[in-house]
Structure formats: structure tokens, C-alpha cells
Symmetry: C2
Subunit: 344 residues, 2 copies
């Protein structure tokens, strides 16, 4: 089959790889129909995180079950399924607590496993990870596109909102105008936030933030941006979603958080975080978050997507086919696209 | 009157200062009977934080109301009162939410105000800050000594436990064997922890930790200590209390925290916190805490002290009189005493 393989920073290629097959009784093989390129994929694409030539790419995907092992009970051949970006065994202490990302037997798609930016994947622990969609939506391309972000960015934005403690009527700030930040806006609105302030820099994305529910846009940077949010909130937001993953973004998030409240952080940290710990201390600002247990959130969010109450599809502003994956990376790296959908 | 005044690192003196008086209608003047020297006082004593010559010392105290302004309603002349280490107006948004340490009109005793290591203090917002004790305990010296830590270290240890999310039956780890760490042990036990692991270095304090409720003592350092706690808990404690305030202690606390759980931090940060942010991220370990709103906790903890169910007095292992305050600092700096009580 064809799949996307990492060669070097800036060099990803769609090439022939071995076909996946059922190896364990709990495996399934899924033929991919849709995948995404993630903002977090840009870290290795830019050479900012260590990555090995030969590793596979793509952790967000949807497809049709092609084959299941004898131990698989909840999905069958022909089912359309989605999977969270991290797989897990579904049985350990952490899986039972809904923190599947800390599963002792879990891992991420891609790297040394099959990746979603390809024609098929072997999916371990199929019962734990594959969520079947209703057959009735099979021909609704728009709805399938709206469901796809539940594999990562929508669940991640929701995690930021949950960790930040967004509540009904709250004033919320979102740091970052990428796909996760935009999904954070949707999540905050869904949880009842009354005012949603977004800090970002790119006009097109900020316009989209407004369409998705943002009430206030702050486009300045650093201390100026912090000062503006403190002024407009009279002392800080009641919940702050950090959706970037840099030291500057984290410190801005702490800086605009109201005393006694929390920053929900989901930006993948690429820094040793010399953070504003004194402000956290003197104002009891909490920090809660991390890699999102998206599997746990699919059950909560999917019904809202199916019913049309939640639609994260606008974050997918570029569509490529499988041979176009390298172009998708290039466009996202150049900030020409927020997030690319891959139609396989 | 006499009061303790900072001159230079290592040089604190008890000397003549102006008598306090009621200046605002909401003030009271309180004659001090008991005070403490705090582990946090050692930071300026050691020259590690900026401090101005002439500033007063002592933020933990108890005494008898001598005079009240015309606006004071809840305490009267002759009442024995305690006060939290930070004063507040009792009326602002943060005071109403129980986060009196973020009060816009609040401050700390000592520095530019009267301090507790002296004969008397002017207490602003007396209704908000002074808590009257029952007259019946006036002659119970042991009970008064047990109440005194509610002004800071007992409330601070409790804050760490609350922020860490200690629950009934939990396995809890406490980083630090100082007065706050020891109070953290008491707080964790009081909240129902089943197993309480203490990380510390000094045998006498660790013995005391055991008397106060610790079930396991870890006396090694750094990575070795982290490995021991991870082994004995099979993957980390369900709640971790960080009661030191150094980068090493904070990273140990993050290192021994179970995925999905929280570190409650109350050690005053004297570091820019190059913290183990990646472990926090990949295992959803939260960080919650800061300067403790002790005022909010007095109502909860005082009844337990009055009834004898909670007794933090063993952390006060040295008693000096007012002229002996400099000796108290010296003894604590030399680690000869955990915490000194000052009888005025």
C-alpha cells in the first residue's frame, strides 16, 4: 500500500510500504478514507523535534474496517470508524479512569506504527480504540468532515476547556489561533462561556474564530496583549486555554488568568518552561492539562456533531489527496492553511 | 514598644519602635502574646530575597485586643484573637471567594506594617482578619500553642493537601520535612489519606513526621528518591504536596505524581522553575496551589484543634521570649529548630 513516510525535515514522501495485517486477535485492519495533517506534525517537519527517517506519519484518521481479529467484538468488517490519535488497551487503571493517553500499553499512530496518512492501518486493541459511526451518515461528506476533528483537535480543544474549568457564563481566554485554539473556542462556547477572548496574530484565523464564537479578538503580542486582556476583563479571565505550546504562550496564559482560576494547557511543550511561577504562586493560578484523552471525549462530543450542534469542520481549510500530502505539509508550514484534510 | 526589625541578612534586632494606634475606623490594636518565626523568614535572613533595613518582622501571631476603632463589630477589647499571615479587606471579589491572599487591599504583616514579632500590631480590617477564640481556653497554654500554627503553617499544609486533591483512602506523598511539610502530613491524615509518604533528609523531623501520621519515609535525594516513591506506589502517588519551594523539590513532586493527578504546591518559589513540563504534559499532571488563603481555613480547622483532633503544636520545637528572637532565627537558620515560638 501507499503511506506517508518521513525522510528528513521538510521531506515527507508518499511511498510503497508493506500492507498491514491482523497480528493479534484484538487487532483490526482499517482502510483509511480521511486523515489530517496536524499542527504538531510541523514540529518534526521543521526539524524541531527528533524524528527518525522511515517513521510513518498521521495520527488523525477515519476509515472502513476491512478485517478484524477473532477477539474483536465491537466493530466488524464494513463499519466506518474513527480512532483517537493515541491508542490504548482500554483495560488498565488509566483507561478505566478515562486517561487513555497514559495507558501502559498504548502509543501514537505513526512513528513505528502504521500512520493515518496512508491507505490502511493495523489498529491494535480495536475494541478499545475504534468507534463505529452510524451507517446512515455514510454519504454525508460534510458530516464526515465535521466528525474527523474528533480524532484530535476538537477533543484537544475540549480538554483545554475542561482543564481550565470553563463554566456557564464565564469569561474565557484562548491563547492561539491554530486549529486547536479554534476548537477551544467551539468547546468554550459549547460549555456555556459568555465571553470568549482569542489571542492570535493571523487575520484570517481570527475572523474564523469570530465565526466560531469568539467575542473579542486580541492581535497584539506579549506584554501588550496581556495588558489588553487584563484591562478588558478587569483582572483576568476566569478560564484560560493555552493552545500553542511555547514559553511565551504559556506565560501569557498565566498572565491573563484571574487569581484563583486555572490555565488549561494542551499546546505540546517545546520548551523547558521557564514559566512565571511567581504569578502562579502569589495568585493561586493552577495549571492543568496535557495530551488530551480524546478517546474519552468522543462519546461526549460525537452526538453533538451528529446533531449539528457542534461543527469543527471549518478548521479543515485545505483538502489534498494522498499524493498531495507533501503539499499539505508545505502549505501548513507556510501558514497558507490552518489544517489539511487528506482524502485517501 | 519593642519589635523585631531587619537590619541586614543575619542581623535582626529587637528594638524600640513607635507604639501602634487605631488610624482607621476599621482598625484594632492587638497586644501580642505569641508569635512564630517562619521558615519563609529565613529567605531574607539568608539574604536570598530582597529586604529593606528597617522593615518589621513576623507574620504569625496571636494576642489580646487592646483597642478597636468605631467601625469594628466582631471583636472587642479583651478578646484573644488570631490572624492569618496575610490581611485582607474581607469584602472584595477574592475575599468573598475565599482567596483572601489576592485581596486588592490586602498585604502581609511585617515589612512596612507592624509585625508579629513585637509587642503589638495595628490590625487593619479587624472584622475581616481577627478571629476571636473562646475565653474558656485562656489558661490552656498547650491549646494556645496548638492554635498558633493556624496563622500560617497548618493552614498552608492544609492548602497543599486541598490543592493536591487528597481524598479518603488515597496514597499521598509530601515533599519536605519542614514545618509546612509536617503540617501537610497532619492535613493529609485529617482528609483521610491511607498512606502518607514523606520525602525529607533530617532524621529528627522524619521521626516527628511518623508520629504525626506518615506511614513511609524516603530519605534519599533527587532521582533516587523519585525512583523509590514510584516503586513503592507502583507508578506515583495520587496526591503530592510540594512544601519546599525549590526547583528540585518541584520536579521531584512532579516526578512522583501519578498520571492524571495533581501536585499541590505551597513552597514559596525561589526559582524561575525550569520544571519538568514534559512529564506534566504527557501524563496530565496538574499543578495547583500558591500562597495559602489561611483566613478561609481557620473556620474549618479551628474546631478540630479546639476539640483535640488536630494538634500541630509539635512543629513548634523551640520557645524564645521577645529578646530571644534573634537567637530563634539563628537556631532555625542552623537547622537546630524546626520552628520557633515567641512568647511575648
Amino acid at each position: 500500500m501507499k503511506a506517508t513516510v518521513f525522510h528528513a525535515p521538510g521531506d515527507v514522501r508518499v511511498e510503497q510500504v508493506p500492507d498491514p495485517s491482523v497480528k493479534e486477535p484484538t487487532d483490526a485492519v482499517v482502510r483509511i478514507t480521511h486523515a489530517c495533517i496536524c499542527g504538531s506534525d510541523l514540529w518534526f517537519y521543521r526539524g524541531l523535534t527528533p524524528f527518525e527517517p522511515g517513521w510513518r506519519l498521521g495520527h488523525e484518521w477515519m476509515g472502513i474496517v476491512e478485517e478484524v481479529g477473532p477477539g474483536v467484538r465491537t466493530v466488524k468488517k464494513g463499519d466506518r470508524v474513527i480512532a483517537p490519535f493515541a491508542f490504548s488497551d482500554g483495560e488498565c487503571e488509566f483507561c478505566r479512569r478515562g486517561l487513555q493517553t497514559s495507558c501502559a500499553h498504548g502509543g501514537f499512530w505513526g512513528t513505528m506504527n502504521d500512520g493515518g496518512q496512508g491507505e490502511a492501518v493495523r489498529a491494535p486493541y480495536a475494541d478499545a480504540n475504534l468507534v463505529a459511526l452510524p451507517p446512515s451518515i455514510e454519504n454525508d461528506a460534510d458530516l464526515l468532515k465535521a466528525i474527523l476533528p474528533l480524532t484530535d483537535v476538537m477533543g484537544t480543544g475540549h480538554h483545554a476547556a475542561v482543564c481550565a474549568g470553563v463554566s456557564k457564563g464565564a469569561t474565557v481566554a484562548v491563547v492561539g489561533d491554530g486549529a486547536v485554539g479554534l476548537c477551544g473556542v467551539l468547546a468554550a462556547r459549547r460549555l456555556g462561556a459568555e465571553r470568549i477572548i482569542v489571542m492570535g496574530h493571523r487575520a484570517g484565523r481570527m475572523d474564523l474564530a469570530k465565526r466560531l464564537g469568539a467575542t473579542d479578538l486580541v492581535m497584539s503580542s506579549g506584554e501588550q496583549a496581556v495588558a489588553e486582556v487584563l484591562e478588558m476583563t478587569k483582572g483576568g479571565a476566569q478560564a484560560v486555554l493555552e493552545c500553542v505550546g511555547t514559553s511565551e504562550a504559556l506565560n501569557s496564559a498565566i498572565g491573563i488568568c484571574r487569581p484563583g482560576q486555572r490555565v488549561g494547557f494542551v499546546g505540546v511543550p517545546h520548551h523547558s518552561a521557564a514559566m512565571d511561577f511567581r504569578r502562579m504562586f502569589y495568585h493561586n493560578i493552577g495549571l492543568q492539562g496535557g495530551v488530551a484523552p480524546v478517546r474519552a471525549y468522543i462519546a461526549e462530543l460525537l452526538p453533538d456533531v451528529l446533531s449539528g450542534r457542534l461543527d469543527p469542520s471549518p478548521v479543515l481549510d485545505l483538502t489534498v489527496e494522498l499524493p498531495g500530502v507533501p503539499e499539505g505539509y508545505r502549505a501548513m508550514d507556510a501558514r497558507e492553511a490552518i489544517k489539511a484534510m487528506v482524502k485517501v
